[in-house]
């Protein structure tokens, strides 16, 4: 939906001009999820009202609700993913209610941002995409991986970074990154990913006047199911990239890492990771 109908100019214009758009994450609204009880109750009320009205219902679904609270129309995601079908629903409601266009009621803003973190944290932004041959949905997926100031310091060894010096990134730090390296799949519970072999190694390749360049090399072999049922699929890839370290402060000034020959589910995929360029608002992932 993100790179389908929600990226279509006509859908964007209609949602902004005529509707109050909101999305909710089912995991947050589960009985043990973090969403407030009032939010959960309202989502359940809309679901039940749609059910009572004889409309299609489901957990992965579109609901259009009147300002008074009653459902006006629903669509299963498989139908909503067809842009023309979604436009038909939206235009039908606009016509039925005789709505006049207006400005968005909430200012559009970046929706993918890292979770709240303290200043000085190492914030990594990851983008995954399929590169053909299957094993990935279309579109892209993102993750944010945040290391505290203390954890960030562990990416570098103590002492001088002389040319040729090498070390292995702490496994617990590397694994927190590696578990997110997979293409665009249905299953995104990284606790179910099982690393069979994975490591990140670092080696100083150049000591400049201002900065030290550190090469990163890695290898990952990880069990990752496309859906939520075990399917035996393996993520297999090499990793290559670099760290930049400021000589004067010893601080990490940059991190870039990409997969190399990444394969999954019979297809190829690519993952690119970089240090976030600027602090972002602590909102949600």
């Amino acid at each position: 939906m993100r790179t389908g109908p929600f990226s279509d100019t006509r859908v964007i214009e209609r949602l902004n001009a005529y509707f109050v758009p909101v999305y909710v994450v089912n995991e947050d609204y589960a009985p043990d999820g973090p969403a407030p009880a009032e939010e959960k109750a309202e989502r359940d009320r809309i679901y039940r009202a749609a059910l009572a009205a004889g409309m299609s219902t489901g957990t992965v679904h579109v609901y259009v609700v009147a300002p008074e609270g009653q459902p006006l129309g629903t669509l299963h995601v498989a139908r909503a993913a067809r842009t023309e079908r979604l436009l038909e629903l939206l235009d039908g409601v606009v016509a039925e209610l005789g709505l006049k266009p207006g400005e968005p009621l909430a200012a559009p803003r970046p929706q993918s941002v890292p979770r709240g973190h303290e200043p000085g944290s190492l914030v990594l932004h990851l983008v995954a995409r399929g590169l053909g041959g299957g094993g990935s949905w279309d579109g892209t997926a993102e993750n944010w991986i945040v290391y505290s100031t203390e954890e960030a310091a562990l990416w570098l060894p103590s002492g001088e970074l002389a040319e040729g010096r090498s070390w292995t990134i702490e496994p617990c730090l590397a694994e927190r990154l590696l578990v997110h390296i997979y293409p665009v799949t249905e299953n995104n519970d990284v606790t179910k990913n099982s690393i069979e072999a994975g490591e990140l190694r670092a080696r100083v390749v150049q000591v400049g006047a201002q900065r030290v360049l550190v090469r990163l090399d890695g290898r990952l072999q990880m069990r990752h199911d496309f859906y939520y049922q075990p399917d035996g699929n393996l993520v297999e890839t090499d990793l290559v990239g670099y760290l930049e370290v400021e000589r004067s402060s010893g601080c990490l000034a940059g991190l870039r890492l990409v997969t190399h020959n990444g394969r999954y589910g019979g297809g190829r995929f690519g993952v690119a990771i970089r240090m976030a360029e600027a602090e972002t608002l602590p909102l949600r992932q």
Partner: protein, 92 residues
């Protein structure tokens, strides 16, 4: 004799090259000299394109209750999308 030795050396080198070659269709890792340009070019090619971030052009309201309140106050219908995973990151 020398020719045979050279031939044998060539065969040995070919064998070693065969053993250390990248897997079928795989590209060799960049050298240290190529490291930065390779990483930067690959990252640029795979990074999010503006057309892949159009989701952010929608004025999403944060939270269902806040959205319902706005809907009632401003007389606009609510558009609610419920899903497993996080549509805002594409991990859904």
């Amino acid at each position: 004799m020398q020719r045979m030795m050279l031939g044998g050396t060539a065969a040995l080198l070919l064998s070693v090259a065969w053993l250390v070659r990248p897997a079928c269709g795989a590209e060799a890792l960049p050298t240290d000299y190529e490291l930065v340009s390779h990483t930067d070019a690959t990252l640029a090619a795979w990074w999010l394109k503006p057309e892949e971030k159009r989701f952010d052009e929608i004025g999403w309201v944060d939270g269902l209750i806040a959205a319902r309140r706005l809907s009632a106050e401003r007389g606009r219908p609510l558009f609610l999308f419920t899903m497993d995973g996080r549509v805002n990151t594409g991990r859904c």
